[in-house]
Subunit: 188 residues, 2 copies
């Protein structure tokens, strides 16, 4: 099946649910016969950004690289789903400007919820001062001003979040409108 | 048009003709309705590998990044053409192992020919010692042991080189066999 492709840019705190949403979205889109790739923050840091740290400059460089690859994919008909904290508004805006069919998804969960999940034990380390410059603790997260989709993962199921993203993609014609009926189930 | 995608990995000295072949190959494949991207060494160094130098380690990291992106593209049906010196055999082999439908193209021109072309004036600088670690001058180039295609750009036209690559892609079914007749014009 031929599609235009798109970049679905998930941004949010560590533990907000980006990776979970990304994988469910991938599964749903692939089941529909679409081409999809996830550019996960951790995977990208291994494969494209080894050696970069977590200063603003290094984070921005990492985000630009993800944006470069996402654009390569999406302009060739692939849905590129990125799942990286991407805390800074300006570089997210820069990527948006350089990428066709860009959908920003703010995965919004309160810090205390993310911290209580603490899947990787990172918040505990950050609170103990063993990690410096951890987003949300001692490094900023700049909330998106105009994301196309906001997912409230502390009170939505993963399926509900995914359906909001599907609806946004369908409404813009980035994925086939034949599936538009799915959008009706969206709970916002 | 749907294809399997492939990675066409051009390797050779600076000035051997990689970029020229890459752009002609892109033009021909796009004219046939295929999806094609060039991952040019210089562009990649700007967008994915800023800060990396030309030590063996840094060169290998750069090549792994190009390989990572080429695989993302080619496994989604795009023909990814890479044009980077990629002087080391082992990392080229590593990329080959990790990439489906990998075609290695040795763009083989004698050093003296490349040096006489010296499009960017780099060889002159390397000979004067203003650039250190320049491939072919004071840094090694390891000739491919079993490239799928060898282009002798000092005695072939660009079109002849491109046709050899097209024939190799067609013979393996990586691009539609409907165009197989083109392969007959190949001059080897």
């Amino acid at each position: 099946m031929e599609t235009l492709g798109a970049t679905v840019w998930l941004t949010g705190l560590s533990g907000s649910g980006k990776t979970t949403i990304a994988h469910k979205l991938l599964k749903v889109l692939r089941a529909r016969g679409l081409k999809v790739e996830i550019l996960d923050g951790d995977v990208v840091r291994t494969n494209l950004s080894k050696g970069l740290g977590f200063s603003k400059e290094d984070r921005d460089t990492n985000i630009r690289r993800i944006g470069f690859v996402a654009d390569l994919l999406s302009r060739n008909g692939i849905v590129a789903i990125t799942a990286a904290i991407s805390p800074y508004r300006s570089v997210r805006g820069e990527v948006r400007e350089n990428t066709e069919r860009f959908i920003e998804v703010f995965v919004d969960a309160p810090l205390e919820v993310c911290e209580s999940r603490d899947v990787k034990g990172m918040y505990a380390k950050a609170r103990r001062g063993e990690i410096k410059g951890f987003t949300g603790i001692d490094d900023p997260y700049e909330v998106p001003a105009a994301a196309e989709v906001v997912c409230h993962t502390e009170r939505e199921t993963v399926d509900e979040s995914v359906e909001k993203i599907l609806a946004a993609l369908q409404a813009r014609g980035h994925i086939p409108s034949a599936y538009a009926a799915d959008g009706e189930r969206t709970v916002c």
